[in-house]
Amino acid sequence: MFCWLLLCTVSWTFAQSHVVKGKITDATTGEPLVMVSVQLKGTTTGTQTDASGNFSINVPNPQGVLTFTYLGYEALSRNIEGNTSLSIVMTKDNKQLDEVVVIGYGEVKKRDLTGSVVSVKGAELRKVPTTNVMESVQGKLPGVDITKSSGASGAKINVTVRGNRSIRADNGPLYIVDGVQYQNIQDINPNDIQSMEVLKDASSTAIYGSRGANGVIIITTRKGATGKPKVSLNSYLGSNEVAGYPAMMTGPQYVALKREAYHTTGRWNSEADDALIFNAAEVNAIQNNLWTNYADLLIHNGLQQDYQVGVTGGSDKTKVYFSLDYFDEKGILKLDRTRRYSARLNIDQTISNTLKAGMQSQVTYYDQNARRDPLNQANKIVPLNGPYDADGNFVLFPNNGSAINPLADEQPNIYQNNARVTRTFINAYVELTPLKGLSLRSNLGVTLDNARQGIFAAKNSIDRSTASTSRSQYNTGAQRYLSWENVANYSHQFGQHTIGITGVASLLSDQRDSSFLQGEGQLLPSQLYYALANSVSGIAVRTNYLSSKLISFTGRVNYNYKGKYLLSLTGRSDGSSKLAPGNKWAFFPSAAAAWRISDESFMHGQKVFSDLKLRASYGIAGNDAVSPYSTASYLSKIPFSYDDTNAALAYGIGSQIGNRGLKWELSATTDVGLDFSVLNGRVGATVDYYDTRTKDLLLQRTLPSSSGVTTVIQNIGKTRNRGIEIGLNTTNISTSKLTWTSNITFSKNKEEIVALADAKTNDVANGWFIGYPVKVYYDYQKLGIWQTDEATEAAKFGYKPGDIKVRDLNGDGALNTQDRMVLGRQVPTWSGGFNNDIRFANFDLNIYVFARIGQYIYSEYAAKFDPQGLENSAPLDYWTPDHATNAYPRPNASVSKDGTPFIKTLGYQDGSFVKIRNISLGYTLPAGALKTVHLSNVRVYVTGKNLITFSKVKDYDPERGGDLSNPLTKMYVAGLNVEF
């Protein structure tokens, strides 16, 4: 035995004795390369080059293969073939820079970009299982602020690119799917996406003119490929649970508050007085310690699942991709469920050498049940009761009180809110290339949207608890969105000059009509909203029509000299139907230039930068984001009658007056950017500084109501957004077994209003303040609570100990509206992401941390204080004569919540947070094992989403923004990706 071991050792030693030496140099400069990894293929034997590029490695067999890997260079393999000395030349890997990036109406190599564009590949998007693709890039795109709007199933994602520019207009970016505008990003399955590009600076977005003012997100869906068909299956299943939900007062806590409230007025002095302030059932509940936490009864665990199958295939001339997807999300509240079914078919057909045609199409169908928020009811109902009586029967009004049971809507046949949406998206193109370098393309995109929403609320539902009868509503909407674009592209190279010219003519037309039907008091709840004819009262109908058009002509010239000096000029003329006659058309020019410094000969000697590019751009973008018909004044119908049978038509003058001078809102953006990579490409960075000045903002201006109208849409004011965006990619470890790459993003945006109606006057009526962001909190500043020893001081202001104490801002000895101030901003001062991908053997691990810092929220929970104890409150630290605190005022049965001075000041809170957005662990089955079952790739993974949040707000995910309805969720998911 011992001999056998010894023999092994000897043979091992013997085998090591074959030594291979060599030197590795750069192919273009001839300089030695340091720290290149050298490895014997199929083994763990390896080494690295030294400072002069030399290496030495012991190999057991002189016939092996050595692999050389070096970051930023193309990997290389070399047979040893008995050699003991090797001279290795490695060439720089330009793959990253040669990657093609999609830009507006075209594509360029990454190296030739002149604007600020971030590109994300489909594989990156698929890492985190999400309903909405925008969720998966949260914090990964510098300058793009993405938040989840609520925890309800199918909830919307809020996206803002580089801060809010327009005060009134929707600041969401423009989504372009396969070249055509498609605002329903939530329909697109991440598995169908080939790549996603975010265009941020004015020069990149200029070609989209007015629509691109808030940034452009371009999504390219997967295309078919020639060769053996490939099938991919992607599926995940996960459980949702609430990411923290703060509790209201328990029974005893509530009782203590109400006693204190009446103690203040002198009505309650001891428990003997309970019967004076609590009803008999409540007294009984107090004695038996009976109380209910209704939020607990409402919130359950949800379930999310998704099944997708995609097939790519094709012949030489025909390429096809098609996919089917089923998504199902059950929310954390009963009756909250979203189901999405979608099918996609992409075909590209080469007809002749000069003619191509194709079509991308998707049909999406939503079946969505929504729940009317019951948590508001749960949070205010007096807890001293139970939802069921002793026999287990449901009690509609617990304790015979006035508050309806929060569980009411969950009872059979009480409530349903069902939306069904069918959206068909068809985009067909034909492309002619009559000459080399010239292409003519015509694109017709049509989105047809049909929606119907049925709502039934029985007499015993929460919604109808202030009315007498059930109500049924049946609403429909149809939208036709049409985009027709003709694009000409010409590119030509002569000598060292390359020139590309693009011309676009486009027509966009948006037409919607809708109807609203409702009736009340039907006999059978089971008929829901399907038998409105059975309504006995409250019958009402309304129909509506809305349309707008945009016509544009665009031209762009891209020029580069030697690939080092790049220039891009764009001009676009937009005509919008929504603006006033005479102001409908505007011209938006832009220019951008870039200099690839690293390609200059003087850079060849240096070793610091492997890539270095300087970019600068300036451009003007327009915005017409107002509702159609804002230029005219309209009448508004007022229900009226002189008797109970016949309506008398009555039209008042609408509260918004038309503006016959409405014109384009203009944003001028300067962007300077630097792209570089150092340490042989180990660290790559993109840094952008931008400054956007917006003028003629489309504002809804509050008018003096003495004019009889209250608002107008006007071009007023100026805003400025400037900031810095940094994207950093690092390769921390790179060996054949273990790689660790990180991706760090940082965005800081300073948003401020520069002028409103004039440069000095704030618009308090609208909450707009010069020098501050568009969305701020403006109120009195709470200092604390007036204490007993401050009674005289408090009395000077008309208050007494136990009242909320606020700052007398102007020091005039009186507290009034002049003492309000901007308390906080609703936008973050900075946000950032830290993404890590670690690959070890067949395992992959993703850890992603996201931070959003500096924004204020209005916490409904912190403001949940009813000084009378009529409703439940949050368990808060309130003032009593025996308990001095600066947190909450004194309970007082004779002052209502609304009547409590400065009660709103209780809710403002710093909503900064850092969260672990995602931890994902995947395992890819070894290729060998798969071959036998004819699979090419199988990956299984588990993911935890939104796992931990660090913030000053307790038991609550502040990303939600302060609302207690539809809290955000965390998710545990297991998934499977299969390809064959």
């Binding site: 007498s468 159609p628 009658s641 008042g652 007056i657 003096p704 109501s705 509206t817």
Partner: protein, 544 residues
């Protein structure tokens, strides 16, 4: 070639501009609608709808009835700043809400009066509609000028963006009110088949109120007499009959907001029917004045007893104005006993229909309540020693506006018409005018008509007053007894210059905070914020 190219561009841009014209078949514009007789009718109809923002609404009760000698805050009072003048500021939402609706009404009246000649009416209809519009303009301007004083005034339609407002003297307002009312009285018909439309007697009655306000006592007296004698109005036999839900359109009502049983014709906000409507709609008086009875032993909320919003409680002074042994108005006006309707929470032995709660304006000793199953709230429990509110949750409740015909207990919309002018007011106007003219005896005659009607059978003699009893204060007391809750009190006290005096004397809660500048209301902050001529259009004195 070049020429063709230019031509092509011109043609394209012409075609484009055609494409970019807006098409809005769902919208209606002033020019389209108000230029035909049928269209113009919708304008006149709409002019009447704005009084629904004031009469029978919480905002209206707060601004016209609270902050006087008659009321103080219940626990649920949303606007104690109005009721008790505690830190009453321009930010008060009642002020901005009503201001906005009143000026919207004025603008619609101005639009109509300016356009009526081009509406295509026959002369007869044009005269009537013009008179209605002028009457309504006067009516709305009166609310504005009494509340806010010399604020913004115009008789022209707003056609463009207006960012300024003017300060116009109170006299100019009244001059226009009188001009408009003169046209109205001349041209309005005697009657209408559309209940709620203005008629000649309505205009006369309102002008009587205006004359009294402006010290034109002789004319006020004549006008009041005319309304009393010439149009077939008569007092209801019993005061209580006025508040019966099946007797809403009775002969004592001169003019009312005609709220509908068919709720789709009322003004509640509704995404489909009326997106900018009132948050509650129709008459809400039944919600405001009821004490919190439904959590007391033996009680539960039901339609008959109403939904207690617990907003306002009567001042002790108001209760003490009545000699309830002779004056039937006390029992008709107030509810002080609740009868058991819930055995689950009832004390042992109490049966359905037994007395469950009694609230009394008198002090009651323990001996009086001993052994009683019902719960008693007496004067000393409800009111503090000085007369201010103590237990603001349980009190004698105004029941004039109760509506047991609502379809369910939680229904907020009541079809009860809100009386704007009823005949009894004409007697009080005549009495006050006569008193001001030195004819106390004549004044006593008018008042005795009302007091005799109010007398409990067998107590008529006790109710009769003589000229010696008549004083301005007595007339105001009588108005309180007759009209409590009917949205006139603040105007009455202001007209007589007695707002401060009577608050300080009779109502300790508002007395603690009332200051003489409170005779005018704060101009809404959003109005002040929005005007560009801030130096000219300033806040009323005393407010920040």
């Amino acid at each position: 070639m070049k020429r063709y190219y230019i031509l092509l561009i011109l043609l394209t841009s012409f075609a484009c501009n055609k494409q970019l014209e807006e098409y809005n078949p769902s919208g209606l514009t002033t020019d389209q609608v108000f230029s035909t007789p049928e269209g113009f009718e919708t304008l006149v109809n709409a002019v009447y709808t704005y009084n629904r923002w004031w009469y029978g609404k919480e905002e209206g009760y707060s601004i016209s009835e609270m902050g006087t000698d008659l009321w103080t805050s219940g626990t649920g009072d949303k606007y104690p700043d109005i009721t008790q003048y505690i830190n009453l500021q321009a930010s008060n939402t009642v002020m901005s809400g009503l201001w906005k609706q009143l000026y919207a009404a004025i603008n619609l009246c101005n639009t109509g009066i300016g356009r009526i000649d081009k509406a295509g009416y026959t002369d007869a209809v044009r005269k009537t509609r013009n008179a209605e519009l002028r009457f309504m303009r006067a009516f709305y301007y009166w609310h504005i000028v009494e509340m806010w004083g010399g604020v913004h005034f115009t008789v022209d339609e707003t056609t463009g963006v207006q960012t300024t407002a003017n300060r116009t003297s109170v006299d100019t307002f009244y001059a226009q009110i009188f001009r408009d009312l003169d046209v109205a009285i001349n041209d309005l018909p005697l009657t209408t088949t559309d209940y709620g439309r203005a008629t000649k007697p309505v205009a006369q009655a309102f002008l009587a109120r205006m004359c009294l306000t402006r010290g034109l006592n002789a004319r006020a007296a004549v006008l009041a007499d005319s309304v009393i004698n010439n149009y077939g109005y008569s007092l209801q036999a019993k005061y209580a009959d006025l508040w019966n839900m099946s007797n809403l359109q009775n002969k004592e009502v001169v003019w009312a907001v005609n709220y509908m049983k068919n709720l789709v014709f009322d003004d509640r906000v509704d995404a489909t029917l009326y997106p900018n409507g009132h948050s509650r709609g129709a008459n809400n008086g039944h919600l405001m004045f009821i004490m919190k009875y439904d959590d007391l032993p033996g009680m539960q909320r039901d339609v008959a007893n109403g939904r207690p919003f617990n907003r306002y409680m009567p001042s002790l002074f108001l209760l003490n104005l009545f000699n309830e042994k002779a004056d039937a108005r006390y029992a008709a006006t107030f509810k002080q006993v609740w009868y058991c309707n819930n055995l689950k929470t009832a004390p042992a032995g109490m049966k359905l229909g037994d007395t469950a709660i009694v609230v009394t304006k008198y002090a009651v000793s323990n001996a009086d309540t001993a052994g009683k199953k019902y719960r008693t709230y007496d004067r000393n429990m409800v009111y503090a020693t000085g007369g201010g509110g103590k237990d603001r949750t349980h009190y004698i409740s105004l029941q004039k506006f109760d509506d047991p015909t609502r379809a369910s207990v939680n229904e907020e919309e009541s079809a009860r018409d809100a009386f704007i002018i009823r005949l009894a007011e004409m007697y009080l106007i005549a009495a006050e005018a006569q008193f001001n003219l030195g004819n106390s005896a004549k004044a006593a005659e008018y008042i005795n008509v009302l007091r005799k009607r109010a007398a409990i059978a067998g107590h008529e003699a006790e109710m009769v007053v003589t000229s010696a009893d008549i004083s301005l204060d007595f007339i105001l007391d009588e108005r309180a007894r007759e009209l409590a809750g009917e949205q006139l009190r603040w105007f009455d006290l202001k007209r007589t210059g007695k707002l401060e005096e009577r608050i300080k004397k009779y109502s300790p809660d508002p007395a603690a905070y009332f200051q003489s500048y409170h005779n005018l209301r704060p101009i809404p902050q959003d109005q002040i914020d929005a005007v560009t001529n801030k130096a000219e259009f300033t806040q009323n004195p005393g407010y920040q």
